[in-house]
Amino acid sequence: MTRRRAGHEGQVLRFTFDGRAYEGRRGDTLASALLAAGVRRVATSVTLGRPRGIFGAWTEEPNAVVQIERPFPEPMVQATTIPLYDGLVASSLSGQGRLSPGPDPARYDATHAHCDVLVVGAGPAGLAAARAAARTGARVVLADDRPEPGGTLPDTAETVEGRPGAEWALAVAAELRALPDVRVLSRTSVIGYYDHNYLVAVERRGEDAVTRERVWRIRARRVVLATGAHERPIVFSGNDLPGVMLASAARAYANRYGVPAGRRAVVFTTGMDDTAYDAARDLAEAGVEIVDIADAREGRLVTAAIGDGDEGLRTVVIGERGEGLGAMTGSREVEADLLLVAGGWNPVVHLFGQAGGELRYDERLGAFVPGDAARAVQAGRNVVVAGAARGATTLAECLADGETAAASTPPTSLATPPSPSGGWGEHVWLVPADDETHHFVDLQRDVTVADLRRATGAGLRSVEHVKRYTTAGTAHDQGKTSGTLTSAIVAQVLGTGIAGLGTTTFRAPYVPVSFATLAGRDRGALHDPVRVTAMHDWHAEHGALFENVGQWKRPWYYPGPGEDMEAAVLRECRAVREATGAMDASTLGKIDVQGPDAAELLDRLYTNLMSSLKVGAIRYGVMCRADGMVFDDGTVIRLAPDRFLVTTTTGNAAAVLDWMEEWLQTEWPGLRVRCTSVTEQWATVALAGPGSRAVLASLAPDLAVDAESFPFMTWRDAEVAGIEARVCRISFSGELAYEINVSWWHGLALWKAVQATGAVTPYGTETMHVLRAEKGYPIIGQDTDGTVTPADLGMGWVVSKSKPDFVGKRSFARADTARPDRRHLVGLLPEDPDALLPEGAQLVACERLPEPPVPMLGHVTSSYRSAALGRTFALALVSGGRDRVGERLHAYTGETLIPVTVTHHVLYDPEGTRRDGRPDTSEGARHDG
């Protein structure tokens, strides 16, 4: 039963709603197509289960919120804003949609824009503002949420500059689009207004576009808000029935879409302006019989809408107002299927409110309008409001307002415009009755006047509290039709002024936005950068499993055929302890430190002395924060008297460089030192195991590799596998070991050459962890947590007693850092040599758990199965741990208590005999992975 005015018969589009097939026309929204098809009921209210119809014609719609089923399930979409497309399948909802269980196949992305002037809204004021700004040569972005420019001009069919409004708007938009520095974004909702004129918008590019929706992050020198106004409903009994509609919406359906929203209509207006009469005239032209106009100025009010079931409105009851509020004398019942409601206009001040602008209650308009923008401007937001959003009521005013908005700062309050022909009306928010349980304030939340009275009866005096108590204004329409009504009715009930009561806070987003849109392309593989080394492809091709270390992918272990992780790691560990292993150590942070005061800087940042290091030598070092807690560790290589290469842990590379720069720039600007990150300049292969010397010798025939020529903790420049390299003799496993550094470009070639010797087993981070733990070497961040001093780690030797000062030194004089019951790093041997303790397990002294609070002594920080020890072992931080060596403790797994014995933290080769590949007793040193 499609009824369509002449001139609106566009291409036929087929769609399905609630399982029934319908036809609409190109240019329709789902709502206009449903109205044209005679569908009255489009939703069921969320708590009361009442039938609901289409109420508005754009983003103000509270009722017609539907589920899109195809092409992709999308919940809670306003039927009034969905452009109809062929094959659309939608269904009605009862206040709650259904999220798709599958991933959204559409593409979403984000982009940035910068401009001199951002105009929000392409109605008459916005177009005029954008055109005026563009003509000055400014960079302009014009964002508008509708598919066509003109705002409500196509709804009202007014003329501008002698042309039909819609045609004028298209012409202006075309003129703007032709300019190189103007960007016109249609179907783009500005949803948020943030600090320093940073605004976020969402562009709906359509189902056929490569990118379905795009987030725009816009930085504007000036923002012109030309966001228009929403018509305000009036509250009376049964004002939620299908068939009750905003007058402006019915006018839009008649003029923009050619759809008469009913057959027999009653108009109810407060007479705030004459737009209700304009609507009545346009509807009459569209073939709707206007059977009565209840104008509050004449004392005639609609007291009730009566209907039945899905068909909605049948009868409108019009009362004559007597003396006093609510006293009605006489009434008339009129048969009608459409009731147009015109309660005045609410300027769309959401973004202005978000910007921090103050709102002012305008007695004449009965609405909140932009007031003083000073606070917003102070907050770095250069914002002006133009047109209906500022309270302008005529087209001419809007155009003139827009013209000046872009260039100057217009007054924040309007001069009084001429009053409408019938004179200014009065503000009627509510037609009271004894029973107000069907007087709906917030249609989407089913909040009635009775609910508001209950809230104020409970003692609530603030609209913010009433909002939270009743949920009025909290639905996904953000109270576009209910906000001002709620304030006004609460004020009326409390007998206070609405001006003092104010509004609730306006928050982003102005319209609902899906998470898929906000996530954009930051999902899947692009969710977070994956950092890889020069040798990554070899690792992947050889079956390595990877461990995430920060953003790096590091080879974790290389399982052979039929091997599980345990078997692979035991094999890799044995290879390093008994033969030779190779690991990709490229991810370690590397910082080049240069300058006459380089040694002085390092002396101040490391706990130990670095200035005494000889050129050609290497020293292990620990950095603490000012609180004396370990922050990072690594090796320091002296390249020249005034040049060092510092290595950091993989995860701390950026933090250590920042730490150095912070001290240099803020505390020690006099030091002549420069730091430069060279992490990715170098690719590094660690060669470890008793056979590593022979492997290196075969790759570097010109390098003297014997222990005397190339002692522990020194470095040499050499050609390795035909590549210029720097070889460092350092060890993180206790075995004889080397780290070979070459240019990143040669990393893969070096790695392949090492593998080609046939004598080397590739090993990953898990094996590295086991080997270092056997030696009691801590991993910063795993065995430490920012509350651990070097002494706690059993490394008192790394803290210089002779240096005058270094970062953290003062904290070591605190009584707390010398407490005997501090948690020390110790080893743990489970009594069952096959029991693997969970990392993080708490340690207790007792055999049976007492009632809480349980006295806890510490926790397991690292736990592995050791090939060398032939058993499991763990590292732990234990209160007074070094004094407990030999004690029996229990690790709580969450289910059972596992008995363990406390040991010294160095469990393997405590004498350091393996460091040179032959017996040796000097102090071991190392660096971290």
Partner: protein, 180 residues
């Protein structure tokens, strides 16, 4: 200075492999993307008031700019930091820290009429020619990677990205390019 000279050129015939070896790039009328591998890059840090003339280079002093000098492109990276792209030997001294960073970053060329729009997807700075035209450079982020962005003539941008982030960024650019 006695410290070792960093590897500059392949000492032998061992093949160099760039971080984006095998990157297909984009070749379109609106957009061209490819790697420019193996550019020699030198990081230079000095007090701007203490740059010796013997350096043989003019250094841009205006923040966010670069210039061509002595056969190299010299980029302002910070009040006391420059990046020199080109085959020049710079002497290290008490006042001038010189570090070879050739392999630290690789270079992705993003060029064509669609270049600015493509970069804007991941870069928050204003790329309009009046703000970021030829001669401008910036240390910023593109997508989630730190980059040095260099604006050249003819809508050509060089994106300098750390070697470890290069594949991520190339993937991101390739994905962004489907809209251009």
């Amino acid at each position: 200075m006695a410290d070792p000279t960093p590897p500059r050129e392949p000492a032998t015939m061992v093949e160099r492999i760039s971080p984006l070896a095998g990157f297909a790039g984009v070749s379109d009328t609106r957009l061209r993307v490819r790697e420019i591998p193996f550019l020699r890059q030198t990081n230079l840090r000095a007090d701007p008031g203490k740059v010796p003339p013997s350096l043989g280079l003019r250094l841009p002093m205006e923040p966010g700019t670069w210039l061509r000098s002595g056969g190299a492109d010299v980029l302002w990276l910070g009040p006391d930091e420059w990046l020199v792209i080109g085959d020049v030997d710079l002497p290290r001294s008490e006042d001038v820290a010189v570090t070879d960073v050739s392999a630290q970053r690789t270079t992705i060329l993003v060029a064509g009429p669609g270049a600015r729009d493509l970069l804007a997807h991941g870069c928050a700075i204003d790329l309009h020619p009046s703000v970021f035209g030829p001669g401008r450079c910036a240390q910023t982020t593109l997508a989630r990677a730190q980059v040095v962005l260099v604006a050249g003539e003819d809508e050509e941008f060089r994106v300098l990205v750390r070697a470890s982030f290069a594949r991520y960024l190339a993937d991101w650019i390739t994905d962004a390019a489907v809209d251009y």
